[in-house]
Symmetry: C2
Subunit: 309 residues, 2 copies
């Protein structure tokens, strides 16, 4: 029996609880083990919730979970930075495996957390932290065994891709398209993280850290957002056969990392130009396997939950 | 120490030998084990070869390898159908793990070989059998734990995609473009398997067998090739915004498998329409994770060798 402690019971946390319950049979069949969530950290023990959970497994004390010798795996989906960072670190030191999708923590501390995990002979897994439902972290981890990664490129932020795709289709301006994205739930009330490219930059930091085996954080990624792009620009470049996308890009030249997130003109008869809506795509170039591209939903409860589980 | 017996030392076999030698250090670092090829099956012991191999590990008797109690893993890259099928089966029964990229064997016998492997508690792995360097088998195996697969779709044959892409770009006819593909080494002297869609159908059989957990072989896949497509057809449909691609397609409706390989008109502003040259793409649709697409080189010594290793 594998016992899981869940830190957080918001949208994603309850998604994980539901899937582990619904898919019990297939998970047991494939892992040959029973898997059960035995404790869940919540902020408010008495809050009404949309899911049916045995109240006796809820706790508002994280150390009830992190210090529980029975628990094998900690799944962190609580949000924030300082608290989850502290808990993840402590959990790894206590000999637990950790699963998280916390980009903010990973893009600052991945290299350190990986080292602690290695020392404790435990895993820190974070497939859902980059590109939602796309299994890109595992693919990259397997590629680096045989390949030197020469290039990472991709559309890593769904919100800005939705905005740019709509601006292209509807010939609308940035500010009104942002408003539409907010109304439809694709953009948050404070959209800064997405539209300035910071979210994509965090994901590039995570991918680069793995691909190039070094400490990379968000400050190593040059960042330019999409706020200054107009309907006129998009229409103008269309006539020359181009589309604009917010692309992440990273490579290593003479052992120096070069990493950017910025709007780029790309040939409209290309795969990346045709990634629409809030979808993501990641290109990895390896010196043996060649160029691979992975496409899918970059966010959303179900794709993210799928990759966490 | 993991000991490997290699059946076959052609292009792919020698590629495997080279990579396992060149990448010894990274493989040991990642697996924490030494990995070594201890015996190799060849047809002719005295043939001159392009690679440096200790002649004492060569044998022309397959049972020297399959019956060797020291060997943990058999890698089959010898080609053919009846012989490799017999050896793979025997190796699994003898408690060895098997790695192969033999589409012909897998598309006929996958379900049976999987059952034998399960009984012996051994693995049969065949990542390189479908779509060359794209890690699609692993992705699919992981998807099915949580997802019902609702659809498989893709460009699975590099030769026909090269021919159709060239016909579209150069407005040339089928027969002259086939000749070009043969001259460039993209098509074989007898191109039937590729241009009639049989190669893609075998790959669809392998993917469908995993995705829908049933016996599927090439006869279950309706198959129509590209030989009757003219330059005129391609130019005509281009005016309506379409491109033609040889697509595989499979789904299950009311527990009946529907699987085809056939030329399909697709919107030129789509991802698949922009997969050029000899590249492959595979789309998997899962009820939880949504639509994923995986793009890369569908053939070639290095991508194939990468996924075998």
């Amino acid at each position: 029996m594998i016992k899981i402690g869940l830190l957080g019971l918001g949208t994603v946390g309850s998604g994980i609880y539901d899937i582990l319950t619904d898919k019990k049979f297939m998970i047991e069949k494939c892992t040959n083990k029973k898997v059960e969530i035995t404790k869940i950290l919540v902020r408010n023990l008495n809050k009404d919730r949309n899911i049916v959970v045995n109240k006796s497994i809820l706790t508002d004390n994280p150390y009830d979970i992190i210090e529980d010798p029975e628990i094998d795996i900690i799944v962190e989906v609580m949000g924030g930075i300082e608290e989850p960072y502290k808990y993840i670190k402590q959990a790894l030191e206590n000999g637990k495996h950790v699963v998280t999708a916390n980009k903010a923590v990973l893009s600052e501390h991945l290299y350190e957390l990986n080292s602690i995990a290695k020392k404790s002979n435990r895993a820190i897994l974070f497939e859902a932290s980059v590109a939602g439902g796309i299994p890109i972290i595992k693919a990259l981890n397997e590629m680096i065994v045989l390949n030197n990664i020469t290039e990472i490129k991709g559309i890593l932020n769904g919100t800005t891709n939705f905005i740019l795709s709509k601006m292209t289709e509807e010939k609308t301006d940035f500010s009104e398209t942002l408003k539409l994205a907010q109304d439809l739930g694709y953009a948050e009330a404070d959209p800064t993280d997405d539209i300035e490219g910071y979210d994509a930059a965090r994901k590039m930091a995570i991918l680069s850290s793995i691909a190039f085996d070094r400490v990379v954080n968000i400050n190593d990624v040059e960042c330019r957002g999409i706020t200054e792009i107009s309907a006129f620009d998009i229409d103008f470049i269309k006539n020359f056969g181009f589309t604009v996308k917010l692309l992440g890009n990273a490579s290593v030249l003479e052992s120096n990392l070069s990493a950017q997130v910025e709007p780029v003109l790309i040939d409209k008869n290309s795969i990346m130009a045709n990634v629409g809506n809030a979808n993501n795509i990641v290109l990895l170039n390896g010196d043996i396997v060649g160029e691979l591209q992975f496409y899918g939903q970059g966010a959303g409860k179900n794709p993210t939950t799928n990759n966490l589980v």
